[in-house]
Symmetry: C2
Subunit: 383 residues, 2 copies
């Protein structure tokens, strides 16, 4: 099994791109990543996309985007695992290059959320819930996140305000990131008073749907050394699943797939959680941030929220998270999110994160979740 | 790069499964493949599915099916490349096992076409065409296949009846296959008189949408030898793309992706087309059969149709194709089709094809196309 490294990164600003279609967003990110790697052709393109079929009436994105991006005839197809679709594409590319079958691969995550208005989008996103047992009964991902959060608050006797630190941190970091959707800061005390979307999940808790595309170029670590000055090695990669529905879980407040994927990735990289310098986690909801920190070895059960009370998760803390704003402030272009995480981690490890820089970062954990932890895919990036 | 082999296969009858949902079909095929391999657990599950989002309002199938099939917490996600989604899943599993990252993987292809009625299904399938330049203007895959066929007939001065041999062969073989959707034979002369769907593509030309699921279990070739009496080695695997739209192709009658993927697969297996004993090709339309035979080295350009005039493509011919009925008669459960091809090739190589047996088959080519050759994924299977 060959070692694998990232040699190029590209991203476009996350937000509402009314004048661009899905293929245009993807091609732009790919072009930026190729320029960054200093190459013009690749052997394979793996596309992470969750809702092309229901948002944009467009699937078969491998062939479409390969052609539109000028990558004629390359191997190309799409991976889908709901919100973890981007990381699934990165995982596929990693396996392809690690196996030796593919020399150089591009991975693009892309989503065009503004192809439909917000109300229709809720329905279009519901395809990744359980059609028979969840969405058919009116559930939405946010409503289910609210159930999870309510249970957490009850079990651990935690107030709503306990979660505000996650959103304050995300927006503080997003404000420094030119590619972030939201640049505004959230003042302490505002979080618990924000308009409710699905009580207790509020407007300041829920990551926004967005348009976006991000891409990385990967090749074998041996080739990478000769190609670019700062290759970022993918030293760990792992995926795991949990039940699709919350009601099937034996332990509601434990993200088992997040636990398994992170610890498998640590093991492959030969590290422990202690050696992680920054963590791009899947903060689609603050409850996911708290539960993720507990599942991945950074907090005891019931205590993930406490990391948001101090400066631990800030850029100067001991475990910076969502360093470019996370899903909450950078925005959540669903199938692209996992690749934005990879791009941001690479910027940190290269020391090119500017105002968002985490000092002396050499090891990053990125983890992309599908649903409320039904899929979890983790990668360790090191320089 | 490790050698890879198939150690278990499973399929359910192709047809209209009104009493089963998508997850039930998939779990049944997986269970059959696990029983065939004599194992109960695997490390990863790759799902090939094209239209879960638009047929069944259900994506995120990795987590859903893993859980429903009792494969708790395994790595799982979906691959999509329109009609080639099944082969994309097989390719992903192949890369995962070849790399050494995954020991044993299940691959399931599944589609539940009867979740919607035929008219709505045309619309739901159109998401894999170009949304801006094809489907928005009323095109369908069958209408585009008709344009391609018309052009072929014009360029090479061929009559409609020239294609009938492909459908006659498919139905003759399907009639022997317990898992096939159509068991009826097509009498010589009937093909060109069949009701038109999109002139010149007729009812006897167009493969039917269907429900279905098929699965294979793969592991390293070294482990496989100790696990089952007849492991089938995957000695070649390759994917390529062409433009999504016909109007972007410089050469309309040349399936470039089919050519590249087949020849890359031959090269990896160290064989030539001459050594192929049977070919499960993507006969969604007879024009695709003709063009595929030309692209993959079995006929000169403009002469693919001639193979259907003789007994060449029959079970006792020199190049048997669609040996269990192909897409035309076995049926086309879209995302599952590529895995049905793999299962059928394994049955042939194991000598367990019963009435459909091709004598002394040791090398099979399988090729799954997305759209009209926009994606092509080929595998060489050998025993």
């Amino acid at each position: 099994m060959r070692d694998v490294a990232i040699i190029g990164i590209g991203q476009i600003p996350v937000g509402e791109h009314w004048d661009s279609s899905l293929r245009m967003l993807a091609a732009e990110a790919i072009q930026l990543s190729l320029e960054d790697a200093g190459i013009e052709q690749i052997d394979a393109l793996y596309v992470g996309n969750a809702y092309g079929g229901t948002f944009s009436s467009q699937t078969h994105l491998g062939a479409l985007i390969a052609d539109y991006a000028g990558l004629s005839n390359v191997e190309a197809y799409t991976t889908e695992a709901a919100e973890a679709s981007g990381a699934a594409a990165l995982r596929t590319a990693y396996l392809a290059v690690a196996s030796g079958a593919v020399e150089t691969a591009a991975v693009v995550g892309v989503e065009k959320s503004t192809d439909m208005l917000a109300n229709a989008r809720v329905q279009a996103r519901n395809v990744s819930l359980d059609a028979d047992y969840e969405s058919a009964h009116g559930a939405t991902l946010t409503a289910l996140a609210a159930l999870l959060m309510r249970r957490y608050m009850y079990e651990y006797d935690v107030e709503l305000s306990a979660f505000e630190g996650f959103s304050i941190n995300a927006h503080a970091n997003g404000g420094l990131n030119d590619y972030a959707m939201f640049k505004n800061s959230i003042k302490p005390g505002r979080f618990a008073k924000a308009p409710m979307i699905a009580d207790p999940v509020s407007l300041f808790d829920n990551a926004p749907d967005a348009d976006g595309a991000a891409a990385v170029i990967i090749t074998s670590a041996n080739r990478a050394i000769d190609m670019v000055p700062q290759p970022v090695r993918i030293t760990g990669s792992a995926a795991a699943t949990d039940t699709l529905t919350l009601h099937d879980r034996s332990d509601l407040l434990y993200l088992k797939a997040a636990n398994i994927s992170a610890h498998k990735a640590y093991a492959r990289a030969g590290i422990t959680a202690k050696e992680v310098n920054l963590f791009e986690l899947h903060d689609a909801y603050t409850i996911l941030s708290a539960l993720t920190l507990e599942a991945t070895g950074f907090a005891a059960r019931g205590e993930g929220w406490k990391l948001a009370q101090s400066n631990v998760i800030g850029l100067k803390g001991s475990l910076p998270i969502s360093t470019f704003g996370g899903l909450k402030a950078r925005g959540n272009p669903v199938g692209a999110t996992g690749i934005y995480q990879a791009v941001e981690a690479c910027l940190q490890l290269r020391g090119k994160a500017n105002a968002n820089q985490v000092a002396d970062a050499t090891t990053a954990l990125i983890q992309n979740l599908g649903g409320l932890g039904s899929t979890a895919i983790a990668h360790i990036l090191q320089i």
